[in-house]
Symmetry: C2
Subunit: 99 residues, 2 copies
């Protein structure tokens, strides 16, 4: 399992439109092969900042599978114009979990 | 529920010592009032970078309760010297979850 991580800086005053677009876009990613879970959250201290966390079965499910898909082109056109600057996307492997 | 988020830049070559210190420190935070869950993960692209996610029942359980506790002083002395620069800690409220 690998965790995709991105901090999304949404153009100020476009937060509501972004959340509406995300509601439409989310099924594009959740239908991808290797998708495990998704969490979108909004920053308390900086309300135009969002955190996107997506669990994938393996790294390539995101970097090759999803990003190489037709669904990703639709995801891009729905969401990418909200970001300024464009986010850095990284991947993380679990070390410690306490529940 | 609120999610504490920090990207931790660990001094290069101190990753193993950091993970060992974290294993000792984790019970300090998991015993705090309002603690819900913790996830520590290591970056694939930048292996001296870690992601810390902690769920709290409410913001003040972290910012006032934990940070004002004796346990936090111990947490600091175990962990803070590994970070360069010192991390920005922010809090996020959930918007979308898919499991």
């Amino acid at each position: 399992m690998v965790l995709e991580h991105a901090v999304l800086e949404v153009v100020p005053a476009q937060e509501t439109a972004f959340e509406e677009a995300f509601a439409a876009a989310k099924t594009l990613i959740s239908a991808a092969a290797g998708f495990r879970s998704l969490h979108l959250a909004r920053c308390v201290e900086n309300p135009n900042r969002y955190l996107l966390l997506v669990e994938w079965e393996q790294l390539e499910d995101h970097t090759i599978g999803f990003r190489g898909s037709a669904a990703y082109q639709e995801w891009r056109s729905l969401l990418h114009h909200f970001y300024d600057p464009f986010p850095t996307v990284e991947h993380y492997e679990s070390r410690v979990t306490i529940r």
